[in-house]
């Protein structure tokens, strides 16, 4: 069952309820997401993105990962 941008946004919002989240992508495989959240303050990029990947609960894993590619942009609010 291919995943869509709406599913991804919900998964991220569940983990980051106060974040600014936007997800683009309509081919079912390649997506781009921007997540701006206060919890990222003091985290480096790897830590920020790891937290977002964790919120996708294994949707990305495995050779046939439902989500082949997610281009992530993360930052703390200025």
């Amino acid at each position: 069952m291919p995943i869509d941008a709406y599913d991804i946004e919900n998964l991220i919002r569940a983990a980051f309820p106060n974040a600014q989240v936007s997800v683009q992508g309509d081919d079912g495989q390649h997506f781009a997401a921007t997540v701006i959240d206060a919890s990222f303050k003091g985290m480096n990029r790897v830590q920020q993105q790891r937290a977002v990947y964790a919120s996708l609960k294994g949707k990305m894993d495995g050779p046939s990962g439902a989500l082949h590619a997610l281009a992530l942009t993360t930052k703390a609010p200025e």
């Binding site: 990029r45 790897v46 993105q49 790891r50 990947y53 990962g65 281009a71 992530l72």
Partner: protein, 119 residues
Amino acid sequence: MSAQDLIRDMVQKNDVVLFMKGTKMMPQCGFSSKVAGILNYIGVEYADVNVLADAEIRQGIKDFSDWPTIPQLYVKGEFVGGCDIAIEMALSGELDQLLAEKGLAFDKSAADKIREANG
């Protein structure tokens, strides 16, 4: 040797390692190709590990770094990031800084050209 030991060995024995789909001369995925392209262009010496050639490594590397995607770039044993982060660092100059800090050779003028081209 388990996949984890193999990976740890690779990451410790090589200054720069890129776990990728395909090889540095023949990448087989757009994201892997972008990162390998940057490293090739700025003349960094690195070991490329083709995760498509070994399913255990392909899954093992994701467990090793707790990062679900390929490619994965390592410098001096430390996980630097995936495709997005590597590109961001190349464009911001952080990659130059990291390589210089770790005493790793690269072509500064080529790195500058990447930034100019992506102005």
